[in-house]
Amino acid sequence: MASNSSGGSSDRQRIAQQRLRIIAGHLQRPVDGDSAILAAECKAQGSKPDTSREEKTVPRRRQEIMKWNGWGYSDSRFLFNKKGQAEFTGKRYRLSGMIIPGLKDWFECTFGASLQHKTPATPLLNSSAVQPPTLNEAFVEELKSTGIPFSQDAEDRVFRAHGHCLHEIFALREGKFGRVPDMVVWPNCHNDVVKIVELASKHNVCLIPYGGGTSVSSALECPPEETRSIVSLDTSQMNRILWVDEKNLTAHVEAGIVGQDLERLLNESGYCTGHEPDSMEFSSLGGWVATRASGMKKNIYGNIEDLVVHIKMVTPQGVIEKSCQGPRMSTGPDIHHFIMGSEGTLGVVTEVTMKIRPMPEYQKYGSVVFPNFEQGVACLREVARQRCAPASIRLMDNEQFKFGHALKPQVSSIFTSFLDGLKKFYITKFKGFDPNRLCVATLLFEGDREKVLQHEKQVYDIAAKFGGLAAGEDNGQRGYMLTFVIAYLRDLGMDYYVIGESFETSVPWDRVLDICRNVKARIVRECKERGVQFPPLSTCRVTQTYDAGACVYFYFAFNYRGLSDPVHVYEQVEHAAREEILANGGSLSHHHGVGKLRKEWMRETVSNVGMGMLKSVKDYVDPNNIFGNRNLL
């Protein structure tokens, strides 16, 4: 591994240090004197000079741009303005600064919620409510001498104590903090990680890797039974593209880079990875690898396991990596598959070589309306059978179609609204679609223009066989936008007694309809039985197609007025829904991972022997449970 490289010119080191201090001055308020920032030399420096920090999205102090108790950027949120209209603040998104007239009615009708009944979040993070850190002094001392930046600041620690499960956010909104990491370290490169892991092993400190913090599996939760000092290893500063190899179409990237930076930087040189999970604004490459992530456009680019060529991971036993970058190997079980999906239990992924592609010449959205969900699923199945799925194809059910409709921003011209009316008339009256049964598929095509148009025709022809009608680009695009703002919407709901979440599964084709119906019905039934006063929103969509099955996403939310312990009810319902998924032949997870939330089903999912295999790997790689987040097993 890279223990040689540049021979350490103290000059360069000094300059770098100075620059860092200046940048830090921009970004941070002064930290306690003892955790001063030292720019240790980073050996894995790439060919490109280090791009300046301002360009990167994620600063060390996440609180500067992100919410501490909700999703995403501080400046972007939904709210009901004084006139009772919904609007989305900020400037970052297409929807930003717009009025969404339909949302209020939809919100009130769907949940029985009212703008009069508010449940505002605790506005400020109260640092004194955070447990004081348990420190391993020897570890801290040695860490200081390495010069790797770290912090024991309460805010920093709270930010890294959670993902985005409902119960995590709910607790934060109430100003409640459970066990949080005792300190946060920000390695700057692979070697920093090696040092940290060595020190942690030496001093028996628990390490929890932290990438983008978008986990929805309780993976980032600190195990309450952990008595050792817990150190959150935040990879966000390891965010460089180290090299791009245009001959082999690969890029070597540090694992802390978040999706949007990776794409943007590659785009600058005309490339992309094409890996676009819904969380790509914030989730990191290392996180994708550690959870077996899946991207929206996997039909063209593949899921993370298809995209990865080489992985470097630091474990308590040392560094694991392959010796070459061959595109495929027959060398026993693929060691990458011990790493992918390990969920931070074995080590920290530090560097990844990924496939890249030239940026597509042409992109086109599209949508198809089907008379009912059954026809829609049949169409997707046929598209998968013919292996002609566009970059992305998703099928929303009727409830979600209505939801999407409610999110239409205010139209400026009378003409557009007239056109909308006409469209609606054509579909419901002329074509006889039942507005309470119809559903919509959104499409995204990519490639060169001609092929895209050809492809588009092929897909629309298939759709027509299943009664589908083309419904325009706009509907399609809005569908995809929805995925980026849905998490913001949950925060809005939580301001008004509405809590919810999404979860996913993968299932064979012949089971898709059954699982959708049964899980939705189970959710409704469980809510009722557990005393939820209002009918819940229980909806699903098919988001990915495969040869042998599909990925199905469920959204579930309800108005919790009248419940004394809404989160508990929520968890019971989600638990029941997961049981229903498993009973209907669905998988434990398609791409969210297991974390601690779904651990209880691991054994039945992978069998006793399978559990034993995974355990023995853990026992060898990390006998002292340094990576002690207790996910998965």
């Binding site: 012949d510 059954d514 699982i515 049964n518 019905a521 039985e529 009973a583 209907n584 032949g585 039945e604």
Partner: protein
């Protein structure tokens, strides 16, 4: 409110019972024709895919499941696919119903006329109807009526039509179809016909099960069938058949529907139309010849009073709730669902348990008439050798005592509250005047009025009366059964030691599990029966012993007498097998041979209970002995029976209380 009914299914066997409404009353006051022609617009299943009977057939024929089996059959037999397909299609043709509203209207009209002449009232619990209406919209529904008469299924459809509910499709035995015209009429009123046995016929099974499942899954109509498989000739519930129940539960197991609602329906007749027919059948006496006199008698049927009918639509039972924690549905994840698979052990035991629970639910909601109690008392009195019968006022006193006892045991007794007991008794007796005789203020069974030539014929004609009476007594059997088993156990046990009584109880319970509906799983049973007897003060249970109280003596005598005929019946079958069974005795010859043996003993006065002549009892005891391994069937010799004389002997002695219930016997059981 509406949704509450659906969600309260967690406690499927609710004890509280609803009130009844008489539906004939309205028929007597308004036009039957208008009723038959009125607008009929039932609520339907929310997931209904509207389809005609014709499309239903093609859905079945095109199903993956049938395709799979057709190809399998082709591979195994070398037949052409077209050929097998043709066969499947003709099986379906033979089976399928052709539900037609016009036929239903015809029945609605004629049945109104017939019912009004035959019955005083037809009482229905309307709350049950409302519950049914609710669940029909929510989930596919399976109706499970009890089966005591041919009337049952026409009555069910008639009721559902009356209440504007979706008309069911009904699984009927092929024998109905034999009746040319009637068969087609029934078909058009929703019956579909299945062969009685199709053991190894894969194709038939596939067509049949797919047909039922398709109707169920699409919410085409509620599916109705009889858990007991056939009419009970004895008024005791029969051991449930699992085939169809398995089929209707399968779509739930495989996730094809969210849930299935099972609705047990209890139909109780005050007087059964087939009363003496059943008794003759059980005795193996040929039916009276079809002749002018027969015709006159048939007309007599129409002119007689059959009292009232009570129909109780029970609490819908959700298969999902039943299966919770019992069935791991993941077991269907690894094989495509259209490939037929034998149900696994846990599915089988689940379906079996559910079937028993459902039959128990039917039993518990059966309405008992005072006559049922009278029949029990009169039978006991007859056996105790009182040749002159029992004084009317004494009978009334006993009946009142028994009324109170049965209520303590939770019987659903319809005893007119504001009528003096003596009137209740005499009106009950008069309705059944064919079975009892009252002279000089004394009541006895109407025996010995025949003009029989031989003693054997006389015995049989008496037996007809006794078995008819016994069938009414049997209606109440489920109420007293569990305490009666305990009472008999105390009676036969060698001491009052708890353990002895328990052993004896378990032995009896096991012995009689083909005879009565005893839910699998022992522990609760003993507990409940203890509880029942203790709570009525009949027993005193100390740390070590079970003692009969002074007060409880009468109860215990009654209870043991209830079970006595069965004990004696099983003993005599055992004796027969030990004494007379030859090497070559086949299953087929068993009934006639044992009957001859019993007649001989009855005539010689060595047996007290004429009712042991019932072939039902004989069959059940043989089944029990086969199950216990005391008798074995030798394969390939037309079911030759091989008797383990030692074991049969010891079972007989144990039943008679001559031999203590040995640990060894228990262990083997």
């Amino acid at each position: 409110m509406a949704s509450k009914a659906v969600y309260s299914q967690r406690d499927p066997m609710l004890k509280k019972r609803d009130d009844f409404e008489d539906i004939l009353e309205e028929r007597r006051n308004s036009s039957d024709l208008r009723y038959a022609l009125r607008c009929y617009a039932p609520v339907v299943y929310k997931g209904l895919c509207p389809s005609k009977a014709g499309t239903l057939k093609s859905m079945v024929l095109q199903s993956d499941q049938l395709h799979y089996v057709i190809h399998q059959v082709c591979r195994e037999t070398g037949r052409a696919v077209d050929d097998v397909q043709e066969e499947a299609s003709s099986i379906l043709e033979e089976m399928a119903h052709r539900l037609q509203l016009s036929t239903v209207r015809f029945f609605a009209f004629t049945l109104s006329k017939v019912f009004k002449t035959l019955f005083r009232s037809i009482c229905v619990n309307e709350e049950g109807i409302q519950r049914l209406q609710q669940v029909i919209q929510e989930h596919p529904v399976v109706l499970l009526p009890s089966h005591r008469s041919y009337m049952d299924f026409l009555l069910m459809s008639y009721l559902l039509y009356t209440y504007d509910l979706a008309l069911p499709v009904i699984a009927a035995g092929m024998d109905f179809m034999g009746m040319k015209f009637v068969g087609e009429m029934l078909r058009m009123s929703g019956a579909f016909f299945i062969r009685r046995s199709f053991g190894g016929d894969k194709l038939y099974w596939a067509v049949f099960s797919e047909y039922v499942k398709t109707m169920l899954k699409n919410g085409f109509a509620p599916v109705e069938f009889f858990l007991e498989g056939t009419r009970s000739r004895t008024s005791k519930s029969l051991t449930p058949k699992l085939g169809l129940l398995n089929i209707v539960m399968d779509p739930f197991f495989k996730g094809e529907v969210f849930d299935v609602s099972l609705v047990p329906v209890s139909i109780s007749y005050e007087r059964i139309l087939e009363e003496s027919l059943y008794a003759r059948e059980l005795l193996g006496v040929p039916k009276p010849k079809e002749s002018t006199s027969g015709l006159i008698k048939a007309r007599k049927v129409l002119s007689e009073d059959y009292g009232s009918i009570h129909v109780y639509f029970g609490q819908p039972v959700s298969v999902r709730s039943l299966a919770e924690g019992r069935v791991n549905r993941c077991q269907f994840n690894l094989i495509p669902r259209h490939i037929p698979k034998k149900p696994s052990e846990d599915i089988h035991s689940f379906v079996n348990d559910s079937a028993y629970r459902l039959v128990r639910a039917q039993e518990e909601n059966m309405v008992l008439k005072p006559w049922v109690l009278l029949a029990s008392l009169l039978l006991q009195n007859q056996v105790s050798g009182q040749k002159r019968g029992i004084a009317l006022d004494e009978l009334t006193e006993q009946a009142v005592w028994l009324r109170d006892l049965s209520r303590q045991y939770g019987a659903f007794l319809h005893w007119p509250e504001h009528t003096p007991p003596s009137e209740v008794v005499s009106s009950s007796l008069s309705l059944h005047r064919g079975l009892v005789r009252i002279s000089e203020g004394r009541v006895q069974l109407a025996l010995g009025q025949s003009y029989a030539v031989t003693p054997e014929e006389e015995l049989l004609s008496q037996a007809v009366i006794i078995l008819s009476c016994a069938s009414y007594r049997n209606q109440a059997l489920h109420v007293f059964l569990r305490p009666a088993l305990l009472a008999s156990a105390i009676h036969t046990a060698s001491s009052n030691k708890k353990q002895e009584v328990f052993n004896s109880f378990s032995f009896l319970r096991n012995m009689f599990s083909n005879e009565f509906i005893l839910c699998p799983g022992t522990y609760c049973m003993l507990f409940t029966s203890h509880w029942c007897c203790v709570s009525t003060g009949a027993l005193q249970v100390t740390q070590q012993e079970v003692l009969v109280t002074e007060r409880g003596h009468r109860t215990l005598v009654f209870l043991t007498s209830m079970l006595d005929p069965f004990l004696q019946g099983y003993q005599v079958v055992c004796r027969f097998l030990c004494e007379e069974a030859t090497e070559a005795l086949t299953e087929k010859q068993f009934i006639p041979a044992v009957r001859k043996f019993i007649i001989k003993h009855l005539l010689a006065g060595r047996l007290r209970y004429t009712e042991v002549l019932s072939s039902d009892l004989q069959k059940n005891s043989l089944a029990a002995l086969l199950r216990l391994g005391a008798v074995r069937k030798i394969k390939g010799y037309q079911g030759t029976l091989k008797v383990n004389t030692v074991m049969v002997n010891s079972l007989e002695d144990t039943l008679g209380g001559k031999l203590p219930t040995q640990k060894a016997v228990i262990a083997r059981l």
